[in-house]
Amino acid sequence: MTVLLDPTSERSPTIRPRLPRPERLDGLTIGLLDIAKARGDVFLDRLDERLQERGIAVKRYKKPTNTRPAPLPLQQQIAGEVNLVIEGLSD
């Protein structure tokens, strides 16, 4: 176990903060990531419809298997093409 001393002003909690959420979706491209679990596509298809109705650009992605993290090329492709990602986690 390594213990480090905090070099900061300690005004933030030690738990890594989430990235800030965008204030609005207009003008952004949204990625929908299917993690390859059953019926995830149903959820994402519906989101796709709703987003397209609002004129928001959507790109679809799918992991080869839900048992492993997304392959690096897929992660990089998503990072290069969209501003944010929504994924469905449940069966």
């Binding site: 176990m1 390594t2 480090l4 001393l5 905090d6 002003s9 005004r11």
Partner: protein, 490 residues
């Protein structure tokens, strides 16, 4: 990654309540010398012997107690071996170290010790106070006095990735700031770790010596660089330097640190070939430590309060030493009021490097004109006054001035005169460039610099007629940032 509280953890050390205790190590000739005496005292006076390095030493004593973890030695604050201590009811009532027959006899009450030995022999340094070990023991005994939050890195987590993930890095790997390393760093200064050097913008968070030491560790500093880092932090936090503005501006600048005085050579800084480049640990780490202080303590980060359009590579760290030994001019620090022979840092809000290439001038007049033409181009040939500047004169250029007997004051004066620009050239639209000043400039003369807005130092390798200009911030001067000099204190 977890945060843990700083609750003391008790290290249990058991010692005899009464009697004699000796601490020794085999790697000490005086301990070897006293081995027969230790054996005699173990037999006759109930001596317990703790050994720091070899569990079988001394063979004269039945079953010496090994103290390889050095907990007993640390608890007893042993500095020299052999040390002989008398305890009564758990309290120490007497101690002697090294071999001194009279002292040993007085403490043990046994006469005629060490027949055939010299009367006295100095001891050796104890293992528990060796650098690297003493810090580890202080951490284990919770005696560091360090106040900063502890961040635990998971056993399988990569330290570098954990630090990147927390946003501590300037983009390059960091030295992990363990408690042991920070303790060693603090040995580099006599200042109290909790002394506040100033409030770091934009967060206006307190920069204690301890927090600065943590960032200095991460930057790769040695403890002996710390006084220079502290002076640089003190300088940028001086109101005159306007660190908040220097950080927040869309312009290129960051703090440039120029080091003068004996500390330069004591810590091995580079003032010669490639002085402004890579490859010297002190130059690189001191400049980097200052930037990490601004990033981590002040929360001054790019694309946040740091609004720089392009920034400049020197914002990773920009620090070098003046080549005083080879110069005919007084050092920058002396020119700015510091006594000769006293170490100091000067900070300047500057950026990049613009070369002054002149391989043909052999008179000071020609060379000064050459330098002035380059100086007049900083930011834009259409802007004056535009910013302060730092002229780094290389040795082969300085030689031309030296041989002609030009003092630094003379060069300042001549350059200032040569940087007068006819207003017509500066008017918006002149030279076919829309940038520029109002038509009212026509008929006037405008200087490229405010009075006192130019600084000159000497640095660089012996070969090459290549001086350099470090440009400044358009808000140079009292309304924005002025250079600040601070003495380096131990």
């Amino acid at each position: 990654m977890l945060c843990r509280s700083n609750e003391p953890e008790r290290v249990m050390v058991s010692l005899p309540q009464d009697g004699l205790v000796a601490v020794v190590k085999r790697d000490c000739p005086t301990c070897e010398l006293t081995a027969p005496v230790l054996g005699e005292l173990a037999r006759r006076a109930g001596l317990t012997v703790y050994t720091q390095d070899d569990p079988s030493f001394p063979e004269t004593v039945p079953g010496p107690v090994h103290d390889l973890a050095l907990d007993v030695s640390h608890r007893l604050k042993i500095e020299i071996v052999p040390t002989l201590i008398r305890l009564e009811a758990g309290r120490e009532i007497g101690r002697t170290y090294g071999w001194d027959r009279g002292e040993w006899e007085r403490l043990t009450g046994v006469r005629g010790l060490g027949d055939g030995l010299p009367d006295q022999r100095p001891g050796c340094g104890a293992k528990n106070v060796e650098p690297g070990i003493i810090e580890r023991l202080k951490v284990r005994f919770n005696e560091t006095g360090l106040k900063s939050r502890r961040v635990e890195i998971g056993q399988d987590e990569d330290e570098q990735e954990a630090m990147f993930g927390r946003g501590w890095s300037d983009g390059l790997p960091l030295v992990p700031p363990t408690e042991e390393r920070v303790l060693r760093m603090l040995d580099g200064t006599a200042r109290d770790p909790q002394e506040v050097i100033g409030l770091v913008p934009p967060a206006l968070a307190a920069a204690t010596v301890e927090k600065i030491a943590i960032n200095a560790v991460m930057a790769g500093c040695k403890p002996e660089y710390l006084p220079v880092v502290l002076a640089a932090v003190e300088a940028v936090l001086d109101e005159g330097f306007a660190m908040h503005g220097v950080l927040a501006t869309t312009m290129f600048v960051g703090p440039v640190v120029i080091v003068n005085g004996p500390i330069r050579r004591q810590i091995g800084m580079n003032a010669k070939g490639n002085a402004l480049g890579q490859g010297n640990r002190a130059n690189a780490a001191i400049g980097r430590a200052l930037q990490l202080v601004i990033r981590n303590i002040g929360e001054g980060r790019p694309q946040e309060v740091d609004r720089a359009t392009l920034g400049n590579p020197g914002k990773l760290g920009y620090c070098f030493a003046e080549d005083e030994e080879g110069s005919c001019w007084e050092p920058l620090s002396v020119e700015r009021g510091v006594k000769p022979g006293v170490s100091a840092v000067t900070v300047f809000a500057g950026f990049g490097l613009q070369g002054v290439v002149d391989q043909k001038s052999r008179t000071p007049e020609s060379l000064a004109r050459s330098m002035a033409e380059s100086l007049k181009a900083i930011h834009s040939v259409k802007l004056a006054p535009s910013c302060d500047a730092l002229l780094v004169v290389c040795p082969e250029h300085e030689r031309t001035f030296r041989e002609a007997g030009w003092s630094k004051a003379r060069l300042y004066e001549e350059l200032y005169k040569l940087c007068e620009i006819p207003g017509e050239e500066l008017v918006a639209g002149a030279k076919g460039i829309a940038e520029g000043g109002p038509p009212s400039l026509a008929g006037k003369t405008v200087n490229k610099f405010r009075p006192g807005g130019l600084m000159i130092v000497r640095a660089g390798g012996n070969a090459g007629m290549f001086s350099g200009i470090i440009g400044g911030w358009s808000a140079g001067g009292p309304r924005g940032s002025i250079p600040v000099t601070k003495e380096v204190r131990p």
